[in-house]
Symmetry: C2
Subunit: 403 residues, 2 copies
Amino acid sequence: MASAPKGNALVSQSGGPTGVINASLVGIIEQACRSAYIDSLYGAIHAVSGIVKNQFIDLKKLSMQTIGDLEVSPSAALGSSRDKPDEEYCQRILKVFKERQIRYFFYIGGNDSANTCHIINTMATDTGYDLAAFHIPKTIDNDLLVTDHCPGYGTAALFVASAIMGDDMDNRALPGIKIDVIMGRHAGFLAASAALARKRDDDAPHLIYLPERPVTIDKMMADIEAVYKRLGRCVVAASEGICDTDHVTWTEKILQHDEKDCHNNIQLSGTGALADFLAAQVKAKLGVKRVRADTFGYLQRSFAGLQSPIDAVEARRCGQTAVTLAAEHQNGSVALKRVGNGDKYSCDYFRTDLKNVAEKTKCMCDTFISSDGNDVTKAFIEYAAPLAGPLPRTCWLGSEPRV
Amino acid sequence: MASAPKGNALVSQSGGPTGVINASLVGIIEQACRSAYIDSLYGAIHAVSGIVKNQFIDLKKLSMQTIGDLEVSPSAALGSSRDKPDEEYCQRILKVFKERQIRYFFYIGGNDSANTCHIINTMATDTGYDLAAFHIPKTIDNDLLVTDHCPGYGTAALFVASAIMGDDMDNRALPGIKIDVIMGRHAGFLAASAALARKRDDDAPHLIYLPERPVTIDKMMADIEAVYKRLGRCVVAASEGICDTDHVTWTEKILQHDEKDCHNNIQLSGTGALADFLAAQVKAKLGVKRVRADTFGYLQRSFAGLQSPIDAVEARRCGQTAVTLAAEHQNGSVALKRVGNGDKYSCDYFRTDLKNVAEKTKCMCDTFISSDGNDVTKAFIEYAAPLAGPLPRTCWLGSEPRV
């Protein structure tokens, strides 16, 4: 392998923000500052659209104060974009790379970003331009291939578990039926993380519905009724991506619209329609008076001041690892491999080919989903618990002995 | 004044839970344990309904571990109730008090709870039963009279400000129009707390709509359009209680329903209808493509693991103060008086008559609302900032100099 070229580097962030995508950026900055191969470290504002518009900032000039704010700030501090570059768009990107002598491209994003990396990298190779393009994974959906899990998921899971823990206390105080709709288009990992909220036998969530298990309204109502009869209350965690047995999402059926983004994804978030629909079904079919519904919405990926400590550390190390590997004249996507679990949880970092991650998604595996399809297994809890990290404490006195 | 009687004490929690209602309970427990006048300290499960059903626990027997969990747990660990006791109901309560030799009654709740305290106290006096009934204020709406602010509000304000701060970063990363609906039936304090999120000139929220200022859809759309033209994005904080110029809430107009609780309050929370309606209006009237809406919902009062430190301390001291004052043979409601602000913020605690708080609510005063009616004033920020306490840090790099 030829030695790595000396040149400039570029970082950008793409797709839906997460709570630790900026931690990955900090990891890239600190490792790039240590690298003998990287001269200027540019940040492109608003991802690929910023690259073609030459909207660059100098990331080596950020103050320590700014870096300090950056590492704990949610969302994508460089801005994001929903543009999906085609061949011509990527040609324009490569032209800018050549003009600015950018030899290192670090793209923090999901599977679409990995694909953009892959196209640009292939194009550079084909034209004999020496480029190391690296994808750094992020997504709250946790749906990327190869990696054990995605940075961003742990923090979102901590948010969801904390929300459900509080909701459980609320539902105990004022019993009724509560439906919480959780993000996750086609992968149920985030909705499933609601299960981390459980400490006591009768803790919420009492039912978990995942996109991986089609379910009818009648089945959901029967499940809810059974829990309500048993406990006098019920908290339901439902993924926004739950679908009917014909595999059409319930949100599509309810809205009967088709607002799609440029990646051909239907908009499932940013509306309370599914939660309101399910609550109305419960009221109508079960005759329960106190029925409430919340859609956790964008808070799941952007709530300020909340990070899973392990998630933040891993996101940062993914950024550092990308720079280290690129300086070895490699391209690819950073992935995590779990080498210990439980109290001994830890991960190794490795590279995988961009094509292994590009444009592909994964769902929850069968061993993570209960046989009834309305809950998760112990194996899932063991998988997810270390990622969310320590959970808040709650207290319910209603089961103390009567005097 | 006759000396206080020696006897048993009872605590219960009522109304919608908050993030620090359990901190008040801890304050009562620790002070009661120090009091020479209080023998047993009972906790009634599910408020007044638990009292008449004789559902009591012994709060002096809680373990240190449980107390530790209790002080940080959101919601009402004793359970709550939406029952509104009438004369006959209060007679039954007083009967239980007499049977159990309860001489001290501590009721943590809102204005309805203050009224229940008042009725029972009056009834006790009329029948010659020696009772000290104390109301300890709590509400995320911050709408009780006399007190400078209500325990519970600061923590909810911290949640809202943190949510808006993250939402602002999200909206900067992927620009568009974002509408956030915030709790607060008739008082805009909580929606107004969104303003605490601002650090930079163009930070969200860009518009704040309060129940105190009727507004038409056309006015809101014109406001939003103006911000969108100026910044290319807009984040709106709207109270769930916003109303049209005929003073009918927009939620009522949209839902045209009348689910009311037993206090004759219309249910405004637990539905995404208002947020979805406003988003649809923006899409239809302004032709902006990226429009999202979130309803913060019950997370505002129940999210686990988040407390404003000053709010938790004040809630606890309110509980302690109620016990101290009751042991001086007084009844009443605990209130806070601000004696310093800004860096020197601090409060004194005092008693006020139950009738001053019972069944009354307050709204935002005019000096807290901007002349346009779509924002708050500096006076409001100075009022609310110490209550929410330190806010998380965020970072946006899009305004760094271009290179």
